[in-house]
Symmetry: C2
Subunit: 635 residues, 2 copies
């Protein structure tokens, strides 16, 4: 084998598995809480600084504009102005369209592109995020609130509820940030969001068929079956001229987008194109709306529920978009701080006639491509929108619904990312399943059904993963001391008389009984195999604990049961490489004494060597092995 020197070296003075030094309980607790709630360690730079520096750092932390404003220069400003005007030209038609999705007056969409971006510019940590209202939460608002209050029959109450929902969305977002619970958003996986957004975009497009076909009556349901029934039941009322106009405009929009992708300088055309369709709007900037927050309404719980659900979706989109562009430009985004910024921006918005806003992907991508340098582009955009509100609105005429519908469809088609879905299928089938389920939930059920399906599927995945960890048998890689999965490595060969089981997950209550079941099945199968062959009888079971990051009391009971099962079959159990946390708990629960300290090894290789040594010594002495012999006695 060529390892004789090694056996010698390892078995004589090998390193014992250490139990980490005990830490006081409070210290452990504090470090765990810190790791859970402050994974980015925001206090790091405050350490060892004088008080004045600490205060100025603290202010810069909460109001990032103080951090970068002193370094702002004219070069940056020029770039930001260009980018700001570009996104304003996108924000105006999009704001109007999405307000329509939420069944709100068009001007609310413009208001929402004025105050919130200003607030975000002070507090936000992303340089590229462009703030505004977005399609999916808009649709969700009308779906959730519209069930209780008809926006056409009772527009004032509906508007009040929308502002109230926005207020609670802001409060919820800011609280998540203050309580450092940002990781809740992480539980909406990429696949979930992909499917959910795709489904919502499909639903939004389907709804636009009303405008494109010039229909007057339309279903209030959002699922595809109701929409199709509604459309095909009134075929005689289709207005073909409206359809042709809509398709042409849509084609024009898609064409400009196609060219802008081919050649970035065409972005201007793509961004400006929707501008040709702005219609008549009320003059004047945002009126205050704090007196309209309906805290004593009978629909308060509905408003709170709508606020919480839409705020999570908005957060997930805004943070994901912000992070993507931050990585492209190599700076960091603090999720919790972003949540506070989003939250305060929405609270302020709800008091100034705005509804829910976040950082939409399309607008941010345009902002980035137009060369923005800092969040000042948001201020420029807001100023442009303000000027529009103050002076330009009377210049515009009535916009046909068909044009707004085309704008929405063009934006939505970009959101349905089927290439990403195909990639999911190729790389991870379960992720694809999650994605498709939430898509189907949205399109065939409703936006809420899709959301519930998506969250449930994501949670199920986490639970299933914890409940059913992988275990596999290890074999020796030739010419090394390394042991690896026999399934993965064709060259790995099993060791006669020794079964090495690798447990590939922490041992928790949720998987303890499964692991017990699975390990005894591995032993059964191995004994079966060796009964039919002429190989040496199975005598040792090595549990490779390298990947067992933690263990709880149920897990320790499981190990004790495995030990008992093995004892009854006259098998010896060895542990290889248990981690610090595991060793601590095994020690406290006295399992180390149960199994015997001398049967715990630093590596699988050392454990196998110990087994082989005894096997050989005993073969020499007698045929039957004394299972109580310890390697240390013999070596």
């Amino acid at each position: 084998m060529g390892n004789a020197d090694f056996d010698h070296q390892y078995s004589h003075h090998h390193q014992r598995v250490e139990i980490p030094p005990p830490k006081p309980f409070l210290k452990t607790l504090m470090s765990n809480v810190k790791e859970t709630l402050f994974p980015d360690d925001p206090f790091r730079k405050f350490k060892n600084q004088p008080l004045s520096k600490k205060i100025s750092l603290g202010l810069q932390y909460f109001v990032p504009i103080l951090d970068w404003a002193p370094r702002y220069n004219f070069q940056f400003f020029k770039a930001d102005v260009i980018a700001g005007i570009t996104i304003a030209s996108l924000a105006i038609p999009q704001g109007i369209s999405y307000a329509g999705l939420a069944n709100l007056p068009p001007v609310i969409g413009l208001y929402s592109s004025f105050v919130p971006p200003m607030i975000y510019a002070m507090l936000g940590s992303s340089k590229h995020l462009a703030i505004g209202n977005v399609a999916v939460p808009s649709l969700l608002i009308s779906a959730m609130l519209g069930k209780f209050v008809n926006p056409h029959e009772n527009p004032n109450l509906y508007l009040q509820l929308v502002f109230t929902a926005t207020f609670f969305a802001g409060v919820f977002q800011a609280s998540l940030g203050f309580l450092r619970l940002g990781f809740i958003v992480d539980f909406l996986s990429h696949a979930t969001i992909l499917g959910f957004m795709g489904g919502a975009a499909t639903v939004v497009c389907l709804q636009q068929l009303k405008g494109i076909l010039g229909l007057v009556q339309f279903t209030h349901q959002t699922d595809i079956l109701s929409v199709m029934r509604s459309i095909f039941s009134q075929m005689h009322q289709w207005r073909w001229e409206s359809g042709v106009l809509g398709c042409c405009f849509l084609f024009f929009l898609l064409l400009t987008r196609y060219f802008s992708k081919k050649k970035p300088t065409f972005f201007w055309i793509s961004a400006m194109a929707p501008l040709t369709s702005i219609g008549y709007l009320k003059k004047g900037i945002n009126p205050p709306s704090y007196s309209q927050l309906a805290f004593s309404s009978q629909y308060l719980t509905i408003a709170i529920k709508t606020g919480v659900v839409t705020s999570v979706i908005a957060l997930a989109e805004g943070i994901a978009v912000g992070r993507s562009f931050a990585i492209l430009e190599n700076y960091d985004i603090d999720g919790n701080k972003e949540m506070i910024a989003f939250g305060l921006m929405n609270i302020a918005g709800s008091c100034t006639s705005c509804y829910l806003t976040t950082g939409p992907f399309s607008r941010t991508a345009v902002n980035f491509n137009a060369g923005c340098k800092t969040v000042v582009s948001n201020i420029v955009m807001a100023t442009a929108v303000m000027i529009t509100l103050l002076f330009l609105t009377p210049l515009f005429h009535y916009t046909p619904l068909v044009v707004l519908s085309s704008i929405i469809i063009a934006a939505m088609l970009g959101i349905i990312d089927y290439n990403a879905a195909i990639r999911l299928w190729k790389v991870d089938k379960y992720d694809f399943l999650v994605c498709v389920s939430s898509y189907i939930g949205v399109v065939f059920g409703s936006v809420e059904v899709g959301l519930i399906v998506a969250v449930a599927m994501s949670l199920l995945r986490v639970l299933l993963f914890v409940a059913r960890p992988k275990t596999f048998v290890l074999g020796k890689i030739p010419n090394s001391m390394t042991y690896r999965s026999i399934e993965q490595y064709s060259v790995a060969s099993s060791v006669p008389g020794v079964l090495i089981i690798h447990i590939d997950a922490p041992i928790y209550f949720a998987n303890a009984s499964y692991l017990r079941e699975r390990i005894s099945r591995w032993i059964d199968e191995e004994e079966e195999k060796q009964r039919t062959s002429t190989e040496i009888e199975l005598q040792y079971v090595i549990l490779d604990m390298s990947a067992v990051g933690n263990i709880d009391t149920s897990g320790i009971s499981m190990l004790e049961e495995v030990k008992r099962i093995a004892d009854r079959r006259c098998l010896k159990v060895l542990l290889a490489n248990p981690g610090g946390e595991v060793m601590k708990k095994l020690d406290k629960s006295n399992f180390i004494d149960t199994i015997g300290k001398e049967w715990i090894y630093l590596t699988v290789g050392e454990a196998v060597n110990a087994c082989n040594y005894i096997l050989q010594t005993c073969k020499f002495q007698s045929k039957r092995i004394d299972s109580s012999a310890t390697p240390d006695d013999n070596v």
Copy 2:
């Protein structure tokens, strides 16, 4: 270092990390489903058997009595009769007491000790489980149903709802078993059940103060504050004679139990003691009750909800108890099969005037200690109960409430296992927290609140563990090729210029952004440290993937981001020992090409050797390292 030979050997013809051979999608899917739903592989013994053998094995699988009946002998029978009579003497008073907890007529408790044990004897796979009604689900039934139907004002409707709830409990249990969803019960961790049971026992004891103090009026709430208020507001109505009698009887019961623990032969006295208190009961065995199942009642949903909640608690207790004794006697219990047995037994019970039954711990322990050999002891018990029902009931007199209360308190005090709670505190603080939370939830809130708290805490633990995995830095163990946590091993020393980060969990959407954050913080800290020292500059980051059992698409994006972050700081990222599943996905997503195949090593040791080789070669050639150099080019 003494490892020169090794470096040579490893770097020249070292084993590459293999991507496991691709499996067809359907095969992977089938094997995953099988591992999830059939972890015990029940079909194993059916393989390669003739059809007739298969049929007989199948029958034995579903009706285990066919398996062991042919081997049954007179020795077994003698032991089972003694054990059966012993548990019957416990079952009669306990049945009456617990029926009282559920606000049911006492005789229902006796009925429940007749039919269900008979059914279980045919279908169950445990040899020692003694079947009967139990305290906690009884209390839950009266708490959940009593809110809607007053058992004293409307006893018939209440009884119908109890039977209906029992029916649905049975259907739910059997479906869980048939659908192989037994693992749902695993999510109630040991700590959760410990706290929940302790809390429920406390609540039950508090309720018995009504009987002990001889009070007529009593609160319908179960929380400790309401009970205390109710008791101390009517101090003038306390009947001291009743209190004294109750305490004496309780003392007698505890004394006999104490002696039976000291000397197992005293078990008879402990078990017989409660028998002295049986009162007057209606004569005759179970009347049929299937016509009383209230499927069309307006309270049907309440009955279903009660059935589902109580069935899960009953299952958790029954399966945990069965498994504990099976391990003591070295045989296996099939959780899913047990669920089917429990389910069918409760469906049958609901049609024969029984309410929810399971395998209670106290009765099973007595059964085991009385020396039972097979489940025939249940048949003997059922027969004894039947004889009591047919002939003996008129002999007994009215039993004072105070005696029943004492019996219940004595049984409940055994359930409150504070030693186990202390052990939890010592071994695992979070488990202790879960246990205490569910205890407090039950005692200060209600049984349902406690249950919700307990399940939520258990789920939170799983989610937190997935969301916040451990990462740590590895160092070299002297005189070996092994790298281990610097925190755990005091002898481990870090390698200059190389940062080795061990990721101790699968990389999923739920932890991807945390890990990105944490890894970049490790790099920051390492660069900080090396800036202040005179050591060699940080140039390599090795990610030890040994414990990364799986990765999803969000995880792969995370690795890509880490790669980009490292690139920007002119650091080279290496992977050590990615597992089969991970390699497959890294390959499909082209991440292997991104990082470069030559930067993936089988062990941390090999990765470090490669880094060191380049560091030394380059130091020799120039001061600045060309980060595009691959080790294979150089070696």
